[in-house]
């Protein structure tokens, strides 16, 4: 059974969506977000220093053996993301059946939340098992750590939990996620197991000497690969034309172009920028998710119970509101481990007040409304009233505001990375930007312009989307608009 509110909210959203679609700014924004999302998912396939296929040649030029270094390189997270996107997105647009498009999007969001929760749970389990620092969370992205049993177990647990949520209505839909999660895990570990990583430097030299034949990715650089002889190459330069690497003239490596230049430690800017989409998108979504969940929970508690609960929690909200958030974030990011998960957590933890206030206000209003009182009068327990009836209505303005929150989170990530407080070992637009003004006082324009543009466009896209949604949903503003 779904709440009256849920259905009401759905029609309402469809209506709002139609209005959003009529705004060119919002559509452009969504297009950019889609592009970013694409690169976030497929960056390992597009920009990678590991060749897709490596043929080792014998002395007479015969193929001795074939390796697939890229496959070995991909982490479980990569696999998960890519497979989910490759199947999920076409399913949304082409799929048919009982579920409408909105329903399919809902199922996918539910599934990705499951996947996210799985990763977090698995990380926590590893952490608990090993008992050492938060750094072990990073293990998850490495195959050799062998956390597969844990991931699978937690996937099953989470899938079971998730199927209790009223997203799934039939028994089959409850079983599908469990079976799916398990199968996917086994297939992935089978696929990626047994491959060896290659020494990139060696491959390039061997390739020049004609000892191997490599099929490279579209952009044969990765975010991690740096060369000290390639520092500060301007955009569009051929490797062989660069003074320090002129010795590669005539080899496949020498023919490569550094499309957007290299940075201060000799890493390719384009490759890093594509990889950085991942950090930006994930931090924006996850930290906003955390803040929305936190804020809605606290706001709902305040609005539903009122009285002293409200009084007490609102003091907490006020404290958080008067904190100079960015300042505290800088302190927190500075003293805590430089880690993606930590960054997501702290950004989420320091930005929930908006959601809490929206939800509280909405709940206070809704409490007096007929359908909630009717439900209460009908003897439904408090929890049912809260989650089935009030939440779908109360959450609407929060979700509209979430778009702005994502934009803010992206800005914060860029800022912290710029200040050198970003996650270690991760490509980030902010980090690239910070190397534009070197300590020597020179200014490297391509390190400012390209990452800067990417940050700007991403923030702008989310802001435009938010603006459009706010106009579409807020009837008062809508009236004032003409």
């Amino acid at each position: 059974m779904r709440g009256i509110g849920a259905q009401e909210a759905k029609g309402f959203w469809a209506d709002a969506w139609d209005r959003v679609r009529r705004r060119p700014g919002a559509m452009l924004g969504m297009a950019w977000i889609a592009v970013m999302g694409f690169f976030a998912v497929f960056a390992p396939l597009i920009a990678n220093a590991h060749p897709i296929r490596l043929e080792r040649l014998g002395a007479d030029g015969q193929v001795v053996s074939v390796e697939w270094p890229l496959l070995a390189y991909l982490s479980p997270t990569d696999w998960l993301l890519m497979i989910a996107t490759a199947f999920g997105v076409p399913w949304i647009f082409l799929g048919s059946g009982r579920l409408g498009r909105a329903g399919r999007i809902g199922v996918l969001i539910g599934l990705s939340m499951q996947a996210g929760a799985t990763i977090v749970l698995a990380a926590l389990l590893i952490w608990a098992a090993e008992g050492s620092g938060i750094e072990s969370l990073e293990r998850l992205t490495r195959l050799d750590a062998g956390p597969w049993p844990l991931i699978l177990c937690s996937a099953v647990v989470v899938a079971a939990l998730a199927s209790a949520v009223p997203v799934a209505t039939s028994l089959s839909r409850r079983i599908v996620p469990i079976v799916g999660a398990a199968t996917l895990g086994f297939v992935l570990s089978w696929l990626a197991g047994g491959q060896t990583l290659v020494n990139h430097e060696q491959v390039i030299l061997d390739e020049a000497a004609g000892k191997v034949r490599a099929t490279w990715t579209l952009i044969p650089w990765s975010s991690q690969y740096t060369r000290s002889d390639m520092v500060g190459i301007p955009p569009g330069t051929r490797v062989a034309d660069w003074e320090k690497t002129a010795s590669f003239k005539g080899t496949p490596f020498g023919e490569r172009r550094v499309l957007l230049g290299t940075d201060a430690i000799g890493g390719d800017v384009l490759g890093q920028m594509l990889w950085a989409c991942r950090l930006s998108i994930s931090i924006g979504l996850v930290s906003t998710g955390i803040s929305v969940v936190l804020g809605v929970t606290i706001g709902a508690l305040m609005g539903f119970f009122g009285g002293w609960v409200d009084l007490l929690l609102y003091r907490v909200v006020e404290i958080f509101m008067s904190v100079p958030t960015l300042f505290v974030l800088i302190v927190a990011a500075g003293v805590l481990p430089r880690n993606t998960y930590v960054m997501m957590a702290i950004i989420g933890f320091f930005s929930w007040t908006g959601a809490a206030r929206f939800t509280r206000a909405e709940f206070l209003k809704l409490r007096k409304m007929d359908f909630v009182q009717a439900a209460q009068a009908a003897g439904l327990p408090v929890r049912a009233v809260l989650f089935r009836h009030m939440l779908p209505n109360g959450i609407t303005p929060v979700l509209v505001d979430a778009s702005f929150a994502i934009a803010a989170a992206i800005t914060i990530e860029a800022t912290l990375s710029f200040l050198g407080l970003g996650p270690d070992g991760q490509a980030s637009w902010g980090k690239l930007l910070s190397s534009a003004t070197a300590a020597t006082g020179t200014f490297v324009w391509w390190l400012a312009v390209f990452p800067g543009l990417a940050i700007f466009l991403s923030v702008l896209s989310y802001n435009m989307l938010g603006e459009a949604m706010r106009d579409a949903i807020d009837p008062k503003l809508r009236k004032a608009a003409h």
Binding site: S132, G133, I134, R315, V316, E318, I319, M321, S322, V323, P324, T325, L326, F327, V328, L329, I330, V331, A332, G334, V335, L336, P337, A407, T411, A414, T415, F418, L419, L421, G430, L433, S434, A436, T437, G441, T442, F443, W445, A448, G452, I455, F456, V459, L460, N463, M464, E467, K476, L477, A480, A481, H482
Partner: protein, 506 residues
């Protein structure tokens, strides 16, 4: 009004406490903890045992071995203007002198019984002699204490060595980094004459002898302290129990200077930048919002809305880098200085610009500062434009359709006066409320801006403090920034109360 103010001020106290506690816990519980920065400093020394002893000394000095909440309470006690316990004294240098602390207990007393406690007999001299004596005793107490703390650490290291020599299963009880917690080895057999065991016994003997020495020095220094070689700090209400005094933010170990000195030079800079930026934001955003609302749906409305949305989406770091790169860097335009608050020659400048006899123009101190601050302030203001003008526009539109504006128009008030004295006047209230949202964000933004333009404000200070894990500095920074932020919010509240007759003060 006075009671209203007082109530607001009192409400600020829990807020500041909440924020500082949060930051304290963050700093203290972070992996590597406060010691991480200390270790960095100690790491420059070659001898590992020296490093360990140095670390032990610093940990003891900053009380890092205690429970986090105890540490926080101690910090709070120093910062609070109400002070409990022995009244600190003020040395002629201006430094605060506190009663010498008790020594940490000797460890492994079950194996090596601690020396019996004793009471030193010492009669402090009077007058000048007391001051000289106290200084000497203070140094002595400090030195012996350091040796003792080092000896305790030495004992622990010796214990760890011995455990390692014993091998499994004992080694399993060692800490991850190899240190030994004596409490976990109460059942360790200590008979025999293995070399590590001999060393352990020697370490215990050293610890005991240095304890005796340090304890004696401490007692003498305490007696001299209680004889009051210097005047008491603050106002004593009950001597050595309860006094009022200025907050003491401690000493920043990274610079070895009182934190307060650092803040006193940095805070005005940050406040200055913000106080220049604020009027600019309001002066640009409010008229724009008003115009946009008056011609709603017109070209100005649409264009200003779009432009501000674009500006709003540009992160401060981006503007900063572009401004430095293209406007300030000599490779490109080079119109503005790249960093700092003043030219290096600022000290010799006249205040106002002038033209000297040779006809050369000198910009003077004031213009020099304006020139240096132009880009940082630019970076700080533009994001506020969008927020504020949008809010102004919305408030104006809401008031335009209000009943009292209709009344004013029905009275025959010309539309310009309606806009200014009725619509705008009522829209000021949400604009004041907006301040509450903008100011904390601005303070955070100025941290970044200061960092980019290397301006010696709170931002630069806090980032330095973070990088060195200088707890005292981080906490004091947080405390000051939150206080400034809260005071600004209080100001906004008062302004609101003054502007809106409906708000009752009590």
């Amino acid at each position: 009004m006075a009671t209203y103010l007082l109530r607001r001020l009192l409400l600020m106290i829990p807020t500041v406490l909440g924020i500082t506690l949060m930051v304290f816990l963050l700093v203290a519980l972070a992996p590597g903890g406060i010691g991480a920065g200390l270790a960095v400093q100690g790491g420059q020394m070659s001898d590992t045992s020296k490093v360990a002893q140095m670390q032990a000394y610093l940990e003891d000095r900053y009380g890092l071995n205690d429970n986090v909440l105890v540490q926080y309470a101690r910090w709070l006690g120093r910062v609070s203007p109400l002070k409990f316990g022995t009244t600190p004294l003020v040395a002629p240098t201006g430094d605060l002198v506190r009663e010498p602390r008790d020594l940490p207990e000797p460890v492994m007393t079950w194996a090596f019984p601690a020396p019996a406690s004793f009471v030193v007999q010492y009669t402090p001299p009077e007058g000048e002699a007391l001051v000289a004596d106290f200084k000497r005793l203070q140094r002595e107490a400090e030195g012996t204490r350091r040796t003792y703390v080092g000896a305790v650490r030495g004992l622990k290291d010796a214990l760890a060595d011995h455990v390692r020599a014993l091998g499994a299963p004992w080694t399993a009880r060692l800490e991850p980094k190899g240190g030994a917690d004596p409490e976990r080895f109460r059942d360790l057999p200590l008979e025999g004459d293995a070399p590590t065991l001999v060393a352990l016994r020697a370490a215990a003997a050293t610890m005991h002898s240095s304890w005796t020495e340090a304890e004696a020095a401490r007692q003498r220094a305490t007696i001299a302290f209680l004889a009051r070689p210097y005047p008491a700090a603050g106002i004593e209400i009950i001597p050595n129990a309860f006094s009022l005094g200025a907050p003491d933010f401690g000493v920043a170990f990274s610079r070895n200077r009182p934190v307060w000195d650092l803040i006193a030079t940095a805070l005005p800079v940050t406040i200055l930048i913000n106080f220049i930026a604020f009027p600019i934001i309001y002066l640009v955003a409010v008229p724009t919002g008003v115009l946009a609302s008056v011609r709603r749906g017109g070209a100005f409305d649409v264009i200003s809305g779009l432009m501000f949305l674009l500006l709003y989406s540009v992160p401060v770091v981006l503007t900063g880098v572009f401004a430095i790169g293209f406007l300030a860097n000599n490779q490109y335009l080079g119109w503005f200085p790249v960093s700092g608050l003043h030219d290096s020659a600022a000290a010799t400048m006249t205040f106002m610009p002038y033209t000297d006899d040779a006809g050369a123009w000198h910009r003077g101190w004031l213009l020099d500062m304006v020139w240096h601050l132009a880009l940082p302030v630019l970076c700080l203001v533009y994001a506020g434009f969008a927020v504020l003008s949008k809010q102004t526009r919305a408030a104006m539109l809401e008031n335009f359709s209000s009943d009292y504006v209709r009344t004013a128009r029905a009275k025959g008030v010309p539309s310009r006066d309606v806009i200014i004295s009725h619509v705008l006047r009522n829209s000021l209230l949400p604009l004041i409320t907006m301040f509450v949202g903008i100011f904390p964000a601005m303070l955070g933004g100025s941290v970044v801006v200061e960092r980019i333009f290397t301006i010696p404000g709170m931002g630069s200070l806090v980032i330095e403090a973070i990088n060195l894990r200088d707890r005292e500095l981080i906490l004091a920074n947080t405390f000051m920034i939150s206080s400034v932020s809260l005071l600004a919010l209080l100001l906004a509240d008062i302004l609101y109360a003054l502007c809106d007759p409906r708000v009752a003060y009590d």
